[in-house]
């Protein structure tokens, strides 16, 4: 049962994590994550490998349960809800490994994502505008596609029905520059349509022109939260927060 958060209103953040801890088996991965994502913004979560970025997204989705703290979405407490209920509350998720259903065709992947019945063809046309390859490979098994094309399927699957929040985990990982350009165009367009996005990335160059806000994670905590413009212009802050990891990804 979704519980309204006291005092929730239009100006409240769409997503708010407060003191979230996550354990995976005996390992304590998140150590009190505090994070806010405002409505309509593209928020970026940066950090080196193992900082807890993917775990944060998985915890939001309920794929790993928060052992302490709270997660509020659209004014409702979703901490401890089952993953399908969180998805039904309006959150779409694109995991790091894309997780396209390789035995299903591109069309079947999208049909499955259209939970509320037949998908809106006009919306699919709009999505195919970003990723023309989808139409070309419409009836091909998704497992036969390249890594970039699978990423397109994974993102299209998250967009096939309108959702309030889109969680995307490292979409540029291992992709050719041309595909990354397609992704940049897609995210720009989505932001203009006031879709709220929380984007996990290690590629700072990819997100520096896209993000409205940025949070930097380190050792399972949010070490910095602020505007992307401020971080993009402050080399010393970048060095302090991202260190060698930034150099490695530029």
């Amino acid at each position: 049962m979704l519980r309204p958060e006291p005092g929730a209103g239009a100006t409240a953040p769409l997503l708010r994590l407060a003191g979230v801890h996550t354990h995976i088996g005996q390992y304590h991965i998140l150590h009190g994550v505090d994070l806010q994502v405002a409505r309509g913004e593209l928020a970026v979560l940066l950090g080196r490998n193992g900082a807890g970025k993917s775990t944060t997204l998985r915890t939001i989705m309920g794929l790993w349960k928060a052992s302490a703290g709270s997660i509020h979405f659209d004014g409702r407490d979703i901490t401890g809800l089952a993953t399908p209920d969180i998805a039904r509350a309006g959150i779409a998720y694109v995991p790091e490994n894309m997780a396209v259903f390789s035995e299903l065709t591109v069309r079947e992947n999208l049909v499955l994502a259209a939970r509320n019945g037949p998908f809106d063809r006009e919306r699919v046309d709009w999505i195919c505008g970003f990723f023309p390859a989808l139409r070309k490979f419409w009836d091909y098994p998704a497992g036969n596609l390249s890594g970039g094309q699978k990423q397109m399927v994974a993102i299209a699957r998250a967009l096939v029905e309108p959702r309030q929040l889109l969680l995307v985990d490292e979409p540029t990982k291992g992709l050719a520059p041309s595909i990354v350009q397609s992704l940049i165009a897609a995210f720009r367009e989505l932001r203009e349509r006031e879709t709220t996005i929380l984007l996990v990335e290690q590629n700072f160059n990819f997100v520096r022109s896209l993000g409205d806000s940025v949070s930097v994670m380190d050792d399972g905590r949010v070490a910095h939260a602020g505007g992307m413009a401020a971080l993009a212009q402050d080399a010393a802050l970048q060095q302090r927060l991202l260190g060698l990891a930034l150099d490695a990804h530029q």
Partner: protein, 344 residues
């Protein structure tokens, strides 16, 4: 919603060459290849026809019993060693109709015979569906993700089911009459083919086609296929996979019940241990086919039954180990079974 296409989108991806869809037809050729290869070895064409139809009938019945288990394996990662209980329960439940209505089975009327048989099958499938539902909720649900516990508790479940059958129907074997219309054989030239075996082939084919259509033409089928591959992502799309689990489990149990009725009529005697005895064959078929693959399970069941029949005729002593040898040969060729996980 406007169909806007940002100008910045590069055409590189769209211009990439089309990937080739590799159709894996080698396993499909195994059954006809085996049948043709055996023709010169058997020598007599009528004998070959009889052996082949008998093998296909046996294979179809094993497929019906095994198809549910392979989906349960693939979708839920559950090692259900109690699947045989549904075979036994299905067969014994059918006697609640078959024995009191024995008179209608013995009259020379195809309509009456089939009517009674259909009623028995329906009752067996309903009872095993409900039993499967309860089995999943009570026995399987507490041990999801714990394979050792699954093996122990499901074997325990099967033992309990067997003992309950003893309590309800007694410890003796029960003779079940084959309907008069399905007794005897049809002659095709010099080849005699038992009528019941033709019925078994037809029912198996109908079940396979129905499963194929459901899995490939419906959203429920899409969900099952996607769930076999990545259940977590199916949940992240907003589907309650646990509900899907229980539906698939109960449907698989129901198919085992149908298979039990058919197997019981084939043998014409029922014993509470029949489910446990056939579990070895069912597991071999599921492993040969590839966990989670209904198509693989179908081919595996036909292969196993045909090999057992041909070797039983050609080298009877070898027939005892033919199933194991077949499984080893298939796994040496394809270590994950005929079709990889998720391909249905």
């Amino acid at each position: 919603m406007p169909a806007t296409i940002p100008a910045a989108i590069p055409a590189t991806a769209a211009q990439a060459p089309l990937p080739t869809v590799r159709r894996d037809i080698a396993p499909l050729l195994l059954v006809p290849a085996l049948m043709l290869a055996m023709l010169p070895l058997v020598g007599s064409f009528p004998t070959w026809v009889t052996l082949t139809v008998a093998g296909l009938a046996m294979g179809m019945m094993i497929f019906i019993m095994a198809s549910g288990l392979t989906l349960v394996f693939g979708l839920m990662s559950v090692l259900n060693f109690g699947h045989g209980a549904f075979v036994s329960v299905g067969a014994f439940t059918a006697t609640l109709v078959l024995l009191p209505m024995r008179g209608w089975l013995e009259v020379d009327s195809l309509l009456l015979n089939l009517g009674v048989l259909a009623l028995a099958v329906l009752l067996a499938m309903v009872v095993t569906f409900l039993l499967g539902w309860a089995f999943e909720r009570v026995i399987i649900m507490p041990v999801y993700g714990q394979h050792l516990k699954q093996i122990l508790i499901t074997m325990g479940g099967m033992i309990v089911a067997e003992q309950l059958i003893h309590v309800i129907w007694g410890a003796d074997t029960i003779a079940v009459p084959l309907p008069t219309a399905l007794r005897g054989a049809i002659l095709f030239g010099d080849a005699a083919i038992e009528k019941y075996r033709l019925v078994a082939v037809a029912v198996g084919a109908v079940v396979f086609v129905a499963m194929f259509l459901i899995l490939n033409r419906t959203k429920l089928g899409l969900l099952i296929r996607a769930g076999v591959e990545n259940g977590e992502m199916v949940e992240a799309l907003g589907y309650r996979i646990r509900r899907l689990f229980v539906i698939v489990f109960a449907a698989g149990s129901s198919l085992a019940g149908l298979g039990g009725v058919m197997w019981g009529l084939y043998k014409e005697t029922l014993a509470a241990s029949m489910g446990a005895e056939i579990m070895v064959m069912i597991f071999i078929v599921v492993i040969i086919g590839g966990l989670g693959s209904v198509g693989g399970c179908f081919i595996g069941a036909l292969l196993m039954a045909l090999v057992a029949n041909y070797t039983g005729f050609l080298t009877p002593k070898f027939a005892l180990v033919s199933n194991i040898v077949l499984m080893i040969a298939i796994l040496l060729w394809r270590p994950c079974g005929l079709y990889a996980r998720g391909r249905v």
